[in-house]
Each structure stands twice: as structure tokens, then as C-alpha cells.
């Protein structure tokens, strides 16, 4: 247990060391929220004000998740390219575990700087009216969403064993997230077909599903979301372990 705390601490220190980067991120996310605010205001003129408020608070929440979630694929890529991965593989703690706890530490700092502002904006839009059960549901699904996204990034990262850099694959991922995860565009407004498709695929369960619970909390939806999240987390974990083993064995680690 102790090494986990240590890894979290390392992550926190990393975050604090890049405090300027965090302030920039805050700034950046505020600009992007401004754009979305005015866009949806223009779109939803004539509709009841409640809908606009709900949409914006949903988008703020999505933005928060996007910022908090780790960019593990880049970490893996860096380590493979520099050859440092050899050092990590020698440690008695599993490679993925090291990455997970370190990124949690980093996310804690991100939450402290950006999360508080985003949450305040969110609550302010909702006039600070939110049920305790909703908070609980959002919290639980958000944590699972974090794990799910982490596994997704890990899988993506293993590609670095095969390509020179994963920049391209990463762009690909963002493109898919854009339409299937609901982190930029509210899932509510998806056409019926896409809504259906997205509900089966894993991507929505690291973003949109959390937002849907925040908008319309219900225990049945909550249980459904949690079960699907758990299913994908386990599936991805098994897949990652399989792929990672093969990659490490079959690929000569690039030396410096």
C-alpha cells in the first residue's frame, strides 16, 4: 500500500512543478467554455432556459473530465522511445500500476486548480441546487470512467512498440471520442442511431454517461452504467496484459 502513496506523491509533485501549465489549462478551458456557452446560447434561443443551463453544466462537467483524465499513452510512448521502460519493467510493481497511481496524483493537483473552478461554474449555473444522491452517482461513475479511460490510454500506449510515435493514433482516438464519447457534443442531441451505437461502445462510458447521470439521475441508469463500465474495465485490462506481454517479448527496446 505504501508504494501507492509514494507514487501518488510523485504525481502530485509533478503536478505542482508544472503549476504554470495548470494555470494555462484553466485559462484554455475557460476560453473553450466561452465558445460553447455562446454557441449553445445561439442554438437554444427560444427553447426553455432550463435546457440551456443543463446543456452548459453538462459540457462543463465533460470539460472537467477531459482535463482530469490522464494522458498515459504519451507517458508510455516517451518511455518506450527513450528506453526508460526497461527500468520500469525491472521494478517489482507492475508497469500499469506505477502509471495509474502516478497519474492519480497528478490528477489530484489538476482537480485542485481546474476542477474547483469548473465545479463552481457548474454549480453556479445550476443555482447550487443539486441532490446528494446525484453527487454520489456522479462521483462513483466518474471514478470508474477514470479507470476505463486509463485502460484505454494504456492500450493506445502499447502501440508505441510498433510505431515511431503515437501522435497519429492519438489524433485518431480523439476523433472517435468526439462523436462517440459525448465529451464535446452532448449525447442528448445525438441522432437516435448514433445514440444507440454509442450506448454499446466503451467510449461513452468514460464521458457522456457520467454527464447523463448528472442531468437526469436515476438509480436504474446508474446501475446500468456502472455494470457496463466494470465490464469494459475488466475486458480492457485483460486485453492490455495480453498485448503488453507480447509487445515486450517481441520488440527489442529501442536503446538510447
Amino acid at each position: 500500500m505504501k508504494y501507492r502513496l509514494m507514487l501518488i506523491k510523485i504525481g502530485i509533485k509533478k503536478g505542482l512543478a508544472s503549476k504554470y501549465a495548470l494555470i494555462f489549462w484553466l485559462f484554455s478551458s475557460l476560453i473553450s467554455l466561452t465558445v460553447q456557452y455562446f454557441l449553445w446560447q445561439a442554438v437554444l434561443t427560444g427553447k426553455p432556459n432550463g435546457e440551456f443551463k443543463q446543456t452548459i453544466s453538462y459540457l462543463v462537467l465533460m470539460q472537467l473530465l477531459t482535463v482530469l483524465f490522464p494522458k498515459t499513452s504519451y507517458d508510455v510512448n516517451d518511455k518506450v522511445r527513450s528506453g526508460d521502460i526497461a527500468l520500469d519493467l525491472l521494478k517489482p510493481v507492475a508497469f500499469a500500476t506505477q502509471l495509474l497511481w502516478e497519474s492519480i496524483g497528478y490528477s489530484v493537483v489538476k482537480f485542485a486548480v481546474i476542477g474547483t473552478v469548473d465545479l463552481l461554474v457548474c454549480l453556479w449555473i445550476l443555482n447550487f441546487k443539486i441532490a446528494l444522491s446525484t453527487i454520489l452517482m456522479v462521483l462513483v461513475t466518474a471514478i470508474l470512467a477514470y479507470l476505463l479511460y486509463f485502460e484505454l490510454e494504456l492500450l493506445l500506449g502499447t502501440f508505441s512498440f510498433y510505431t515511431y510515435s503515437i501522435w497519429g493514433i492519438s489524433t485518431f482516438k480523439e476523433a472517435i471520442l468526439l462523436v462517440l464519447a459525448g465529451n464535446i457534443f452532448p449525447t442528448n442531441f445525438y441522432p437516435a442511431v448514433i445514440k444507440k451505437v454509442a450506448s454499446f461502445l466503451p467510449f461513452q462510458y468514460s464521458f457522456g454517461a457520467v454527464g447523463m447521470l448528472a442531468q437526469k439521475p436515476s438509480w436504474s441508469l446508474f446501475i446500468q452504467v456502472v455494470l457496463i463500465q466494470l465490464f469494459y474495465i475488466i475486458l480492457f485490462n485483460v486485453l492490455f496484459k495480453f498485448l503488453f506481454k507480447r509487445s515486450v517479448v517481441s520488440t527489442v527496446i529501442q536503446g538510447g
Partner: protein, 258 residues
Amino acid sequence: MRYLKLLATYLKVNLKALAVYDLDFYFALAGMIIQNLLNILALRFIFNIVPRIKGYSFAQLLLTYALATLAFAIFRCFFINALNISDYIHDGCLDTILIKPVNPLFQLVNERVDEDAWGDLIVALLLLIIVDIQLHNPWYITVMFIFISLFTSLIFLGLAVLGNIVALLSNGLANLAETTFDFFDMSKYPLAIYSSALRLIMTFILPIGWVASIPQEKIAVKHEWVWLLLIPGACVFFFILIYQLWRVFLQKYQSTGS
């Protein structure tokens, strides 16, 4: 003339460097094309909710999107390294540039091209042509837009340089230049959707409105040809302003060495 030749050489070298990324390069290309298509799809979804946004139809909004993307793609394809100025200074690499008999900003900007903006460039050009046909804009308007984009991309270059200078003077905010990406997001929509205060800022302070919204309104809608000169003029003016700032900054760098 000399700089044109140099530009060609840089381009040759940079394209050769791109080839190193082979598989990844094609992934990125495909990724960017898909991302754009999905962006457009998302825009389409919005028009499932309402028929018009502030009087703009789907096709008109697509035109704004295409113009902004084209200008930004040109920026990314050719000027992207301007985002890395502060890195050059932090690791001392600016010195290797200053010892060469060529304008330092020119060298900096040309040292690298983006791996994955080429997909953007292709999509933006195609989209511009398709949308212009849909809107029944005559062919010369498309040509004018391409011409104007060469200049509006300078706005992004200016913003990137500005971001770096502010970052360096503020001793830290190293990623500030990345806000250029956020400004691009702002430029994708007509000025009409923003509040009047923001509209003023985007016209007269950070000239984001000049990237797509103003050219679209003045040329595609109102056919006021004088803007064919005014818009490039405004872009060049903004860039010269930033360039002067860059020179002041360079002087400071030379006097303090940091």
C-alpha cells in the same frame, strides 16, 4: 528571392523528415480527416435541433468552419514551430539560430512542420470548394478565399509568437502559446453568436474575427471587394505589430542572456 529559395529548401527537408514517420503519418492524416468529418457531423447534429443559428444556415456555418480550418491548417503546416519558441530559449537552442546569417524568426518557423495538419489542409480545401458550390458562390469567390487564407494564417502565427513572448516574459506560463488552438476554436463560428464585448475584442484586439467571420460576411455575402485588400492589410499589420514586439523581446534576450 533568397528567402524564397531558402523556403523551398526548408520545405524539402521538412517533407523528408515527415517521411520518417511513415505509418504514423498516414494514421495522423486519416485521423485529421476523420476528426474534421466528425466535427462537421457534430455541427450537422446541431441543425437537427434548430434550422438556423443567428440567421446562419448549416452551409453558411460550414463556410465559416472551412475558412477558419484552412487558415489554421496553413498555420499548422508551415508555421507550427512558432509554438516552440519558448522551448528553444529554455534549452539554449536559440543561440544556434542566432549565429546564422538569416532572420531568426524565419529560421525558427521553418525548422519543423506539423506531421498531421496536412489532413486538415486537404479537408479544408475540399470543404471550401463544396460549400461554395452549395451556396452558389461563383468560382472566383473560392479563389479569393484561398488567397485571403494565406494572410489570415498570419493571424495565428502572430498569436503564437505573442503567446510565446508573454510566456517568456512572465517567466513560466510555458504553454501559453497553445491558446492559439483555443483561439482557433473561437474563430470557427460567426462573430454574431458572441456578445458585443467579445465581438469588439475579436475585431480590434485579438483579431480572431478576421480569420473567417469577417471575410465570409464581406466577400461571400456582401461582395465588397475592397475587403480583398483590407483583410490581408489587417493581417499583415497585426503581424508587423507582433514582429516589432518580437524584436524588442530579442533585444532583451540579448541583454540578459535568458
